[in-house]
Symmetry: C2
Subunit: 768 residues, 2 copies
Amino acid sequence: MNLDYIIPNEWSIIEEGFNPDHVKSSESIFSIGNGAMGQRANFEEHYSGATFQGSYIAGVYYPDKTRVGWWKNGYPEYFAKVLNAPSWIGIHITINNEKLDLFTCKNVADFKRELNMKEGWLSRSFTATLKNDIQIQVEAKRFLSLDLDELGAIEYNITPVNADATITFQPYIDAGIRNEDTNWEDKFWDTLNVSHENHQAFIQAKTMKTHFYTCTFMESQLLIDGKSVLIEPIITADANSASFSYEYKVKKGETYTINKFGGYTVDRNHDKNQLIPAAKAVLKKATKLGFKTLLENQKAAWQNIWNLADITIKGDVKAQQGIRFNIFQLNQTYLGKDSRLNIGPKGFTGEKYGGSTYWDTEAYCIPFYMATKDQNVAKTLLEYRYNHLDKAIENAQKLGFKNGAALYPMVTMNGEECHNEWEITFEEIHRNGAIAYAIYNYHRFTGDYSYIPEKGLEVLIGIARFWHQRANFSSVKQQYVILGVTGPNEYENNVNNNWYTNYMAKWCIDYALENIQKIESEYTTDFTRIMNKTKLSKAEMQEWQAVSTNMYFPESKEHEVYLQQDGFLDKELITVKDLDKSQRPINQKWSWDRILRSPYIKQADVLQGFYFFEDHFTQEELEKHFDFYEPFTVHESSLSPCVHSIQAAKLGRMEQAYQFYLRTSRLDLDDYNHEVEEGLHITSMAGTWMSIVEGFGGMRVRDNMLTFKPQIPKQWEAFSFKINFRNQILKVNVCQNQTHFELEGDRDLQILVHDKRVTISPNNLITV
Amino acid sequence: MNLDYIIPNEWSIIEEGFNPDHVKSSESIFSIGNGAMGQRANFEEHYSGATFQGSYIAGVYYPDKTRVGWWKNGYPEYFAKVLNAPSWIGIHITINNEKLDLFTCKNVADFKRELNMKEGWLSRSFTATLKNDIQIQVEAKRFLSLDLDELGAIEYNITPVNADATITFQPYIDAGIRNEDTNWEDKFWDTLNVSHENHQAFIQAKTMKTHFYTCTFMESQLLIDGKSVLIEPIITADANSASFSYEYKVKKGETYTINKFGGYTVDRNHDKNQLIPAAKAVLKKATKLGFKTLLENQKAAWQNIWNLADITIKGDVKAQQGIRFNIFQLNQTYLGKDSRLNIGPKGFTGEKYGGSTYWDTEAYCIPFYMATKDQNVAKTLLEYRYNHLDKAIENAQKLGFKNGAALYPMVTMNGEECHNEWEITFEEIHRNGAIAYAIYNYHRFTGDYSYIPEKGLEVLIGIARFWHQRANFSSVKQQYVILGVTGPNEYENNVNNNWYTNYMAKWCIDYALENIQKIESEYTTDFTRIMNKTKLSKAEMQEWQAVSTNMYFPESKEHEVYLQQDGFLDKELITVKDLDKSQRPINQKWSWDRILRSPYIKQADVLQGFYFFEDHFTQEELEKHFDFYEPFTVHESSLSPCVHSIQAAKLGRMEQAYQFYLRTSRLDLDDYNHEVEEGLHITSMAGTWMSIVEGFGGMRVRDNMLTFKPQIPKQWEAFSFKINFRNQILKVNVCQNQTHFELEGDRDLQILVHDKRVTISPNNLITV
């Protein structure tokens, strides 16, 4: 680990003591979001130290013109960037005309930051002594409302401790912001209008190029010792910002409070000419309810999420804090309400990766959302890809494929590819497999087949067509090969016959054919519609079948393993433990060619395939492959430890599984990858959930049945989780010697526990 | 071919008729240079149509900050760019107050441009009717002096045809120029001072970052009907430019002439505080000699070059024009006078490729310069790399190599790597082999061994160390392999065991060991010095030997060929002739992944190895490999057709050899690659020379003896060339049925002609 300042606590993330070196890291870690917007934990008041300002609106992006050294045909014109949006949280504060700025105060004492995950709020408190020797005590709290998802609320209390003081709260909104990450220093926002009315201010701004119209708004209420005061503000407005300045002579010991309400209305959800009325409607509700009621509602809304999604761990507070942090951040990022949205790798916590959609969603996030929410949420995520099918077909056409072959983008915001590294963009094509797998996984888990004839099959056909065209027949091997790919392990580029990719390709074709057959016999109307639309012929399907039947898989007879790709054994096979520590992380120490020719694996690759298709392989095969590949794996992807944790658990290696678990669950809290300042690793957080539920819990769905093989790390007394399985909720509580099952539902549930059939009746505790 | 407007002529490049669409192409094709500077054929007078302005000073570059999409460790900080230098050729012209601008004239008739290669000048003539209906006849000529290589001279004549006219010549110099190719729109030049004195003007400017100090200067003489006139100019100067305006009332039929002298003095050759005095010295010589005498001297100097370098072709004027164009441009680019300079792929004709040094120099240019100049020129080119050895060692260290291993840069200006594409920068390591090969080639051709103990061996040791460390032992193959490389065929990236690279690696080690042994026994002082410096041990050499002895080479037993790399036969082996023409050139039509997994070859790869080491293989082996690989070769590199022409000739396939010859020799004149506007392909021009001398002439050096196997394309009556072989000049004149040899020298020369020994005595024509 790299950082170790977060105070262990079961329900909260806590920082104590003010350290300017931690500000940017904490801005990431203490981020808040409500699925519709989110923000880094920037201070409300001015801060002149190092800070990374960020406030983001879901789905509002900018197509930043591609920047490369050497252009390759097929590169997209732009990279879709999540945009730092106009700021609504800001409150300039002056104490006897001196600006409050923690970076320049004489002293900051009792500094505490808390992200209360149970209730969904962020607070900060401190005692500051200004240069003018006035000492103040500050308590600030804010949250982004789950109920009113265009609204955020702040309560900021100042109490002068050692003297009376004239204190000014100057809440402001500001569209004169910039993105840290910009290719060409473009201006991303165009401010259209700044206006104010009574105590409300509005900034209408639109994004350049994409023309998202937004209204950033605010209104404030002032209180003295908890009682409303009316203060006539001094109003300031310029081209990009507006502020109200509320001055009050505060007596020593008196508390001056501002409740600031702010947020965004966006033309994604309103008519672009109605953004101010929409904002007024939000403010009306907010001011009517008031900060305290809104906060109570916030707690209730989070309670509702936790009821299903919580995982408890007894006897290991750091592990408990880690898993809750992961679950909390996932829910802050995506709630499944809007089918146009998806789960960006950094969520609303930073700018890296453009805030777009990767295969992480299908490979890691869907299992989490499927089991901890209504099953419509997972379906919404599937539909996102269905809605992008035409763009995926266009994308494949650009790369020379035809006849409806679909290649889903590596990174996207709107269905168009926006990544620009040939070895990834054009070659990391296994992503197509994860998208098909998610359809299979959804059906397996929910039992809802209807999605496949309705929408899924068209996606499966486009993907199967791609694999059929992408493979070619090798006359020397007399088998089909897939040349020039990058597998999940991005520390290999442009390799031939990546086992995972070939296996995915074969499986995708088989799965498409199996579903075509089923739909032909059971859903004839859908079948006719889809065949008319896709013009799929028997002859074409026979060609697919030939590719699938005769796919080549590299293997080593000597090691009795599938090879990650052709030629893997030609490498100098020195394991990670024999690699000098000074050389790690290799992605920061080595040139790219050295990484590529090394045997080192960034994240599960063959083992990712074994994870997806574990039923296809024996335990002995898993063990052989785990023992062969894990020693070469450097886990320099956030997506790596979780899969290894699950597999180590499956192999009964609980200590190793536990170590992998800690690494995945506290990746950001302890900053394992030395980059938490840039934002959190949101999508891998779903992997953390999997490593408990599927790893330690051994949860699977087989033949329409939930199965478990619970194990518990020796460090823990017990852990529990819930699964929403086909609209019944099963609670699983694993202790050192036994496991308890409890069902919220209306019918009996048959499960397998350690291969033994158990019947659970509703509201009846079963111990196994 | 793409363009076909150049008039065939044996000694000149001629364009007739004014076509604005051809201006940028002609600016490239009619470029002039003198080794120390060069320029595109921009008009002297203002031109408002599409133009690509370029004037370049040898060795004056700018380190443009690297621009990439995704940074990889090891990338250099900058790309060294040839710089568009301040302009000295400009002459604004007004006719009765109307500016002369060919793009806006009412009519341009009798437009002719000529690049006289025999005499080394560029001319332009036309009759223009201005909007004010004045018709003028213009004759302009300019050249860059070979004798005074800081000087250029222009004669510009205007004769009003239909009326008297007030004509103003306003010669100017201007440092307010820009580079077309810039990563970040940086300012590249900083103008320090603009001054004038009498009829002379000077601009002192320095390049940003690299701080090259330059003085751009000019002085003009005015004449009426060939007689000097004194005209008091109006002088204008601003922050970046200076001009003199010479107005004269010219009678109808009278000719108003300006002789403008200009150029650059640079602190690479003078004290930076003495640039103006140096410029004055040049101008003093120039004005004293006058335009006509300078032009006579220019003709004589070019005659001197042609005496040795010319190749004549009878019966095929386009072929004749082509080869002379190639020889002319090579001599305009590099004359071997300055060991700090090298041969940029675009010479002084454009900005692409940064004007830096590539492996082209060793693989293509050295044979040309070796045979057509004093052998010191080739030695100077070798020393260039010797002088960069420390930087090559540093470069290898950055990539993780140690102990004096040297990796020469892919692209360089000063010895530092400045290329930034991982698959090239880090992986196209075969370049190291060409640098060793040039040492071998120099010794083979010149017989001068002294360079190797003096300097060359240290380079060979650095290179051998690199290959030793770069190879690794494959336990499955029980041989040494070289993983993750890009061979000469850049349409494959990150492949394993590129045959050419592995062969080069083995050869480099063997050649280093052979020379170490020879120098140990024959040059003991050098041996001791080098061993002390390099700390090379017997043990290390034994390790080298193990790699060389046990190097792996991919091959196909079925096809009886070496394979370009592991897995080549897995590709879909459709030959180029079966590839739809609409798909070509593939580098403009296909995405990069599709190119990579295709079998298509950009330029000779295995065949490049067969070219370098032809004695290692039988004619039958060459034939098998040529027949296997050429059908997959798309020749989308300018360096491809020449090698294939030589090999086709060797195989007696003269028609094919001839077609390849035309493609290489007229690549730019006929714009085969649709890119001549960007500049000329200078380094591949040396390949054109090779395709006649080594291809049709069959010239080789074996066992210290020149050998020939002359053949002649059926389209030609005869062709002749000269070889400076060990300070004697052999002229070879190949006719349809016989070959004549003539020797300028002082001793008999034994040669082999079609394997028959022939003795040539000086000044005695021998016919075989």
